[in-house]
């Protein structure tokens, strides 16, 4: 098994490396909106002293941490997998004795991630010197506690995206469904603004949805803003959603593959 992963890694690494110019563009694309939100909120905080208790530094640390967390928890499955179902190239992968999504696509995502992180580190350092965040209240425990949360967030996000991508077995409009999913992330994950600044209703709903596991929960953990009870609740929520995501994905995948072979593509 280890050997299989090693080989998959080599192939996917080489594949992603080939598109390194694309990676830079992707990185730029992905950086712009958090920086815009940061600019908007710091300008408000500057003019008013603070927004709902958030000072300029609170916003700066929030968005700079967001960049790191989002970099790790996000994935690109929809872009690297859906077309394989649509043009039939998946057939070749299905006959192999390994799971196309849970091995190949997963390793491909991780390779992509590590490459973008390599490009991201210098950018983050530049941003650090531009914005000079005060991270002095950060604790080692907070950061250590956040590591499993980030990994959990990645897997929940990956499995949900994988489930949505697998809808490609039924419909060609899978990209539209994914666009809707992305809007849900914007609304409920804390991507746009720390969730506490969202309307009360959205905050209440967001607590029980998986999206905050990708962004808000890890950030709050890193910044040391959560009580022990909140941390336990967050992890429980994560465990529940991981189970849900696994079962939804396996169910969609199993039925989808059946359909796929039935069409004879």
């Amino acid at each position: 098994m280890f050997k299989i992963f090693q080989r998959l890694w080599q192939v996917n690494w080489a594949e992603q490396w080939q598109y390194r110019a694309n990676l830079i563009m992707y990185l730029l694309y992905w950086l712009v909106s958090p920086i815009i939100y940061l600019a908007v909120w710091t300008s408000i905080a500057q003019s008013k002293g603070s927004v709902n208790g958030f000072t300029v530094n609170d916003f700066v640390t929030y968005y700079l941490t967001l960049l790191v967390v989002d970099q790790i928890t996000s994935n690109i499955v929809i872009h690297t997998f859906a077309y394989k179902v649509q043009d039939g190239t998946l057939s070749g992968e299905l006959v192999r004795p390994i799971h196309p999504m849970l091995t190949n696509a997963l390793v491909n995502n991780i390779a992509f991630k590590i490459l973008t992180i390599m490009g991201f580190i210098p950018v983050w350092i530049i941003l650090f010197f531009l914005y000079k965040p005060d991270y002095s209240h950060l604790t080692m425990t907070g950061v250590l506690l956040a590591i499993p949360a980030v990994v959990l967030g990645f897997f929940v996000g990956f499995l949900l995206s994988a489930a949505i991508t697998s809808l490609a077995f039924w419909t060609t409009r899978v990209y539209s469904i994914h666009e809707f999913y992305y809007a849900m992330i914007l609304l409920f994950s804390g991507q746009f603004v720390p969730l506490t600044l969202m309307p009360k209703l959205i905050q209440d709903v967001a607590q029980y949805l998986p999206f905050q596991l990708l962004i808000y929960f890890p950030i709050q953990l890193i910044l040391g803003k959560l009580s022990t009870a909140q941390i336990i609740q967050g992890y429980l929520m994560g465990a529940v959603w991981l189970l849900v995501a696994v079962s939804v994905f396996t169910w969609i995948w199993r039925n989808g593959v059946k359909r796929f072979s039935a069409v004879g593509a």
């Binding site: 908007v40 408000i44 709902n52």
Partner: protein
């Protein structure tokens, strides 16, 4: 005249193409409305916490959203589909046939694909601008409206020209599939007034990838923030950038050698 005839032919073909995918069009319009809802919600969240950002009020940001949507439509309805086709034609050599046509190749390359249903976005944008300006309570006089219209057109021309330059670069560097990503990436910066941004970002979106020239500037014209002289400068920039872009395109064509040769 020839150009107009061609344009109407392109429109006809593209309407037929979009009618072939009716359900997709409906889904896309629904998604478009969803994003509008999100944009309005995010603005209301911002203005729950403040009265002005970068010196602009809620109504003015609604109007800015309208102007932003105009540029966004230009991007989605024209720039994306045509770039995709153009990149494809460079790769497989079908660009040769485009060049053989007895019409301006720049026009052919940039107008042959139009995502027709996006036209409704223009109406939506106009509604947003009108509502926004009313909410803001700015006194809008005819000269301001005229300045606004001229600045909007010249801003769109600046973006169009930048696009031409970017895709023309493909003639020099054949493997340049990402030619418009930078435009797309920075587009979001047009949602808010540039006065909000830190200096480096302001310089980037005003001078290097001039999104702001097509969003913030026209609205400043509508509010009467710009002097007559400055408005003229921006209109001149629009004309100049178009002339430069056509020159770059011409030089690029000389570089083009076809996929097979």
């Amino acid at each position: 005249m020839n150009t107009l005839k061609l344009l109407s032919a392109f429109l006809k073909v593209n309407i037929q193409m979009s009618l072939a995918y009716r359900a997709d069009t409906v889904v896309n319009i629904l998604l478009n409305l969803m994003w509008l809802g999100w944009e309005l919600l995010s603005l209301s969240i911002i203005f729950n916490n403040t009265d002005t950002i970068g010196g602009w009020g809620f109504g003015e940001l609604i109007a800015l959203l309208g102007v932003f949507r105009l540029v966004h439509t230009l991007m989605i309805a024209l720039i994306w589909p045509n770039t995709e086709k153009f990149n494809q034609s460079i790769r497989d050599g079908s660009m040769d046939y485009t060049l053989l046509q007895p019409v301006n190749s720049m026009f052919l390359v940039t107008f042959s694909r139009i995502t027709i249903w996006r036209a409704w976005d223009l109406i939506l944008a106009t509604v947003l601008i009108v509502i926004g300006v009313n909410l803001a309570g700015d006194t809008v006089t005819l000269p301001y409206v005229l300045t606004f219209l001229l600045l909007t057109v010249s801003g769109a021309i600046v973006i169009y020209s930048l696009w031409i330059v970017l895709i023309a670069l493909t003639f020099w560097f054949t493997k340049f599939d990402n030619n418009v990503t930078i435009l797309q990436a920075l587009l979001d910066a047009g949602r808010y007034p540039v006065t909000v941004y830190p200096v480096w970002l302001r310089i980037l979106v005003t001078f290097i990838v001039p999104i702001a020239v097509a969003t913030t500037i026209p609205l400043q014209g509508l509010r009467g923030d710009l002097t007559f002289g400055r408005s003229l400068i921006f209109i001149a920039i629009g004309i100049a950038s178009f002339l430069i872009a056509s020159q770059v395109w011409k030089r690029g064509l000389k570089q083009y050698s076809g996929a097979s040769s």
